[in-house]
């Protein structure tokens, strides 16, 4: 690779410039610019189909953009994928895990794939299984896990190699309240320790509780961005979201037969 390993914008953990993705005729993401400051807890909001998953997939190297750049801690994801991918942990949404492995096997797989030392993998895997209450010595195949457990083992795989940037797509979907609280705790501690979290969601309550920074997406473009306080102002985040996205409000006359 002839691209120099130089770091630009060391202050932003994730920097997207002019990202575009078209699927056949539909424009899924129409030129997104986004800077995620290092050490921030960044929430990417948007209704279904806004392009959140497409954007995050392009940011972590899962989907090749038609145009634009994505940089992780200064490393270009598409020009220098090895250096960039080594620094991120990803929890994709709507993507299957290697679910014919047991939870521990899956963790070992991810750890060794990341080039970790076998001893470290053993220690961290046991700790993660314990902390995330997936059961130490549990030999159930991941395919037989519940939806919430699958999210948790996916999160564990993303955390295992202690990346500096975590990109989580819908980490709280299908997770029960107890597990959600646990995941929130872990992510809080991770950010307090200097890590950066980018996650997508459409659950306003979670975002308001967790995030330092927010961006709202609709129709493949970012409509509003800034710190939580800037975006929210003196209103609730939900009101801002509905106004920005342009949702319809019920008049009471439709669905009268229901």
């Amino acid at each position: 690779m002839t691209v120099p390993h130089q770091r630009t914008h060391p202050e932003s953990a994730l920097a997207l410039h002019g990202l575009v993705k078209r699927f056949e005729t539909k424009v899924a993401v129409a030129g997104i610019d986004l800077d995620v400051p290092a050490g921030s807890f960044f929430g990417l909001l948007g209704p279904n189909g806004a392009g959140k998953t497409t954007t995050l997939s392009m940011a972590v190297g899962l989907l090749r953009p038609d145009a634009g750049q994505a940089r992780v801690l200064g490393y270009d994801v598409w020009a220098d994928p090895i250096a960039a991918k080594a620094r991120i942990g990803v929890l994709p949404d709507g993507v299957r895990l290697f679910d014919r492995l047991t939870g521990t096997e899956l963790l070992a797989y991810h750890g060794l794939l990341r080039g970790m030392d076998a001893g470290d993998v053993d220690r961290r895997a046991a700790e993660l299984m314990d902390v995330l209450e997936l059961g130490t010595g549990n030999r159930t195949l991941v395919v037989d896990y519940s939806a919430g457990m699958k999210k948790k083992i996916g999160l564990a795989c993303a955390l295992l190699h202690a990346p500096r940037l975590l990109v989580l797509d819908e980490p709280f979907e299908a997770v029960d309240p107890v597990s959600a609280a646990l995941i929130r705790d872990i992510l809080h501690r991770y950010v307090a320790g200097g890590g950066t979290v980018v996650f997508s969601s459409h659950v306003m309550a979670v975002v308001e509780r967790l995030c330092s920074h927010v961006a709202i997406m609709a129709d493949g473009a970012i409509r509003v961005r800034g710190t939580l306080a800037e975006v929210r102002g003196d209103r609730s985040l939900e009101d801002v979201f509905v106004e920005v996205v342009g949702g319809r409000t019920a008049t009471g006359s439709e669905l009268a037969w229901l």
């Binding site: 991918k85 299957r96 290697f98 963790l107 750890g111 060794l112 990341r114 895997a125 159930t140 195949l141």
Partner: protein, 532 residues
Amino acid sequence: MAVKAHHFVRLKLRLTANGLRGQSWRVVMFVLGALFGLFGAFTGYIIFCLPGLLEKQRAAEIVTPLGGALIVLSWLFVPLLLFGVDESLDPARFALLPLRRPTLIKGLLVASLVGLPALATFVATLGVVHAAARLGGPAAALTALAGVASGLLLCVAISRAVTSAFATALRSRRARDLATVLLAGTTALIGPLQIAALAGAQYADWGRFGVVADVVAWTPFGAPYSVGLDVAAGRAWAVPVKFVMVLATLGVLLWWWSATVEKAMLGAAGAGGARQRAASRRGAVAELVPRWLPANRFGALTAREVRYWWRETRRRASLITFFVIGVFLPVFVTLGSESSTTPTGMLIFVGALAAATLANQFGFEGSAYAANVVAGVPGRVELTSRVAGFTVYAGPALVAITLVVGGVTNRPQEIPALFGTLVAAFAVGLAIVLPVSVGAAYPLPDTVNPFAMSSGGGMAKGLLSIGALFGTALATAPLLLGSWLLGDAWLWLGLPIGVGYGAAAFAIGLRLTGPMLDRRMPELLATVSAAQ
């Protein structure tokens, strides 16, 4: 509004059309498949009607039941072995709709009739009607037409019933051993037919052949095709008997199918249940990576592959299928042919078939491959580990096949050379299949039926496998030439030359495909994880 069979047909046509939309390679596959079907249909038509055109009643009585039985058996085995079943109308998707089971079965059956294979079969067997018309006039032709129609229904029903039952059997993890035996047994049925065909072809002994044909004409496989000729020969009494036999078989098959469909529909929601396994006290790495593999990236990838070949039903099905064909085919060919030459050509076919199992290796796991993309696994490591994982199963199978063939031909001195040829064919096949698996991957539907294919996918799978087989046959031709030219020296040189030739071919294939995978990783992921 009552649901009628034509709704299923329209759904099937719509799904097929949507599957083709905007995917040029699928259109190409579809057109190629249509051409193949057309070719097969006309060849079949000519073979069936030729005896009639020549006014040879006895020849027709031999060709028709045997040809018809061959067609029914192909409907039984080809989906299992090569193409997979078009599960675009997966019964599980109808589980929540208020449909009565007879309606569902009727709809699925009629929808199965709409498709290239059914159409090609129908056109081919119309040759029987043509022949009957020439030999016995309109009455014979009408009877033959009814026979051919019932034969088509039998073909479709047998194919759906057996694959559905087999899929249900394989899904239950405990029943897999039973399924293995069943498949082996049914595949073994090919043997007697083959022996009969080969023996007949060699001696052109029409008398012996005729006896076989007369027997087959009284089985449900040959009966639907022979009724027209019975009328022509003045055996009208046989017609109702044969029709009762065919309809009874059809009834049993439909009943069996509907029973397994019920299970398949329930299975989608409550499949398996968590397997209780003994708790492990070992470390995570020791649990994943066996002791004989290094505890690094290569070891992890290979260990995962080894587990997947056994734990995933789709892979397990292709593994078992390969093993059964690999052992049985060379044995039957050897036993069937009277000449005592060793079946080298057949071994090359088997080696290539082993490699062709990997033709869509990335399609097996679908979107789960994202984990490897995110971790940035280098292409060469990815490919070597996959081949290593498969060889853990294929390697012993290849050894076993060589030993069995050497034993059956009673020429143990040829075993080393045979093994060399087999290894060379396997490695050459891999060299051809690796770029195919990266460049021409296709998504597999997310169902528990290991034989399920998305619409159009079956054609892709079959054509890719056949292409790989052809390529391997061509690329291993120098070895065959060598074995002829070198004579007895080949007995000793065969092993080193075969292994060396294979290793070189594999190295070239890997060298070319590694960088290709590095470049195409996100595109490959998008292809295999596309929702069908």
